[in-house]
Each structure stands twice: as C-alpha cells, then as structure tokens.
C-alpha cells in the first residue's frame, strides 16, 4: 500500500517500536489496547525498550507477551509483583514492569502487591482497573461498584455481604516504600494524554531508583458490561470516577523534583 506523503507533511503519529505487529485478541474497543499503546510509546520515548522486561498477568492481558516487542515473563495469577521482585533484584540494570488487571492485582494477588510495594521494590506496576473479571466471563471483582450487576452479583454488588470496592491507589499510598502512585483513566483523549505522562513519570521514578511506582488506570470491559465501546467509556466516566477519584495518591519529594525538572 504505497501512499504518497506530500513533502510539507510531517509525521505526528506512527506505530510504536515497543509493540509487535501481532493483532491483539482483545474485544473491539477494549481499553487494554490503549494501555498497551501508552506503555509502548513511553518505552520508545525513554529509549529503554531493549533493556525492559515485562511481566504478564492472568486475565484478558495474559497474552501481553505476544504484543510487546521486548522480553516478557508470564506469572501465575496475581504473582507478577513477586516475579518482578526477583527479576529486578537479579538484574537491577533492567527496566521491569508488571501489567495487571483488578482481579489479578486486587483479589488473588493482593498480598504480593502490598508486600512488593511495602519493600519499595524498584519496579513499576501498570494496574488496569475495569471493575470486573473480564477473561472468565464478567464476575464481580473487589473493584466492582456497589450495585453493579455482574454474572456473580446478578442483583448488583451488595456491600453488606461482598464489602466495598477496594481503592488500591489509596491503600498503597500509605506504605513508606512507595514513591509514586497515581490513578488515571483512558476514558477520553485528554485523560489518555495525562495517563501517558503518568506512565512516563512512573518509569522515570524506577530509572532514578526512587522506590516503587504504580499507575492505576480506570478502563472498560464493554463486553462484560454489555455495552458498546463508546457507551462503556461514558458509563465509566459517569460511575467509576466518583468512587475512584483521579489523581496522585502518593508522590515523594524526590519524584516531584524529577517531575518538575523535566
């Protein structure tokens, strides 16, 4: 497909080198793809692709290792932070990140993420919060909103029996080992641009050895929410952002200096 580009046109967006050309298996409109792209763009901009190692979770993003153009490992469900700990400690010159869903990080893997963050492990976690277990057919997650209908809460999440949704970004912010934690979203274009900046700062925090960093990203699962992709973005903006407020929950002075120095 040879398209002629006029000489006075400049390239403003092209395929990131940090992604392979493999087509993803994600449902049409799934924001996992947007988050993949942002991570890839950041790793390209930082020029660290060739020394980055990602850890894929269990969940819809279980095959992330096919899509990122770099070394990857696959963890057992929820155990990505434990694997990342080992890899980063053995190879401290590598850039290490985990990619985890809310079922992976906030349910079965709660212990791993809390202790890795508390130890101030020098890796970065990208936490995709879509308020549901996507891969297994839309069951209630710890992040499912009060009253939200899922296959395992058919009359809506009852907080009396199932508890309240966990705000992981706030919870981890309490821990001294944590340098930078923020909650962002990929629900519209301005939010996506902000999320990318946050992902970049998280990786810069790691590169500077300042402590644990995590970006929680409010996302959608239009398939299991039974909505169109566009409706899912609107639903999340209307309902998720109230319970999961956007913004930084922890930024140490050193990270702030790093941010302002840029």
């Amino acid at each position: 497909m040879a398209v002629e580009i006029p000489e006075d046109m400049e390239l403003v967006y092209s395929y990131p080198e940090s992604l392979t050309k493999v087509r993803t298996h994600y449902c049409p409109g799934c924001t996992h793809g947007v988050v993949h792209r942002l991570i890839a763009e950041v790793l390209d901009e930082l020029g660290v692709r060739e020394r980055t190692i990602g850890i894929a979770p269990v969940g819809c993003s279980v095959l992330a290792y096919y899509y990122f153009n770099m070394d990857f490992a696959e963890a057992a469900h929820g155990r990505a932070p434990a694997m990342a700990t080992g890899i980063k400690r053995v190879s401290p010159d590598k850039v290490v990140f985990t990619y985890q869903g809310d079922g992976d990080l906030a349910a079965i893997g709660t212990a791993e993420i809390i202790h890795a963050a508390n130890r101030g492990e020098l890796f970065t976690t990208i936490f995709v919060n879509n308020a549901i277990y996507g891969m297994t057919g839309g069951q209630m997650a710890p992040t499912t909103l009060p009253g939200q209908v899922t296959t395992s809460s058919p009359t809506g999440r009852n907080v009396q029996t199932a508890g309240w949704p966990i705000r992981m970004a706030e919870l981890l912010a309490e821990l001294p080992g944590v340098a930078y934690v923020t909650r962002q979203s990929v629900l519209d274009v301005p939010a996506i641009r902000k999320a990318k900046k946050a992902i970049k700062l998280a990786f810069q925090t790691q590169l500077a050895g300042l402590g644990f960093s995590m970006v929680e990203i409010l996302s959608t699962c239009n398939t299991n929410w039974h909505m169109t992709p566009v409706e899912a973005l609107e639903w999340a903006k209307e309902h998720m952002v109230d319970y999961f407020p956007l913004g930084d929950t922890k930024m140490t002075d050193a990270v702030r200096a790093l941010k302002e120095g840029k």
Binding site: P6, M9, Y15, R23, T31, V34, L233
Partner: protein, 79 residues
C-alpha cells in the same frame, strides 16, 4: 489543501468506533458492505480534505490503526 492526513491500516481495525466518536471534524465512518481480514467493517475517511491531523483518532485507537501526518506550520503553502 488538507491540513492533515491519516493512513489506515485496515486489517488491524476491529470496527469499534471509538475514533469516530472523537474526530472533531466528523470525517470517520465504518465501511458499509465491506469487511477486512478479521471480518470487521474497517474505518474509512469520508472527506480527506477536512482532516486537521489532530491525531485524536490515533490517541484513542486500541489497535494502532492510524498513522497521522500534519502539514508543517511554516511551509504551509496555500493552494
């Protein structure tokens, strides 16, 4: 003369429509009666002359379908 230009990698498109919802000049639509290698109707540009090269489509696309070009500011020779 168009201020911008997009190249669409049709076979990557899943027809989700997110780009259509954000294009400020409303020049994107799904193909009708035509499907790509994945079986989805791919996105098409209805009026290439109206493209501003803003890259909003590329920013929201989960499948990296768009390559975006924008006319350089200074050399913008008016047609």
């Amino acid at each position: 003369m168009a201020r911008g230009m997009v190249i669409i990698d049709e076979d990557r498109c899943k027809g989700c429509g997110l780009c259509i919802s954000v294009c400020p000049v409303h020049i994107l639509k799904l193909a009708e009666g035509r499907f790509n290698a994945q079986g989805y109707p791919p996105v098409e540009v209805t009026d290439p002359e109206a493209c501003t090269g803003c890259a909003m489509c590329a920013t929201i696309c989960p499948d990296v379908v768009f390559t975006v070009y924008r006319r350089k500011r200074r050399s913008a020779a008016r047609a």
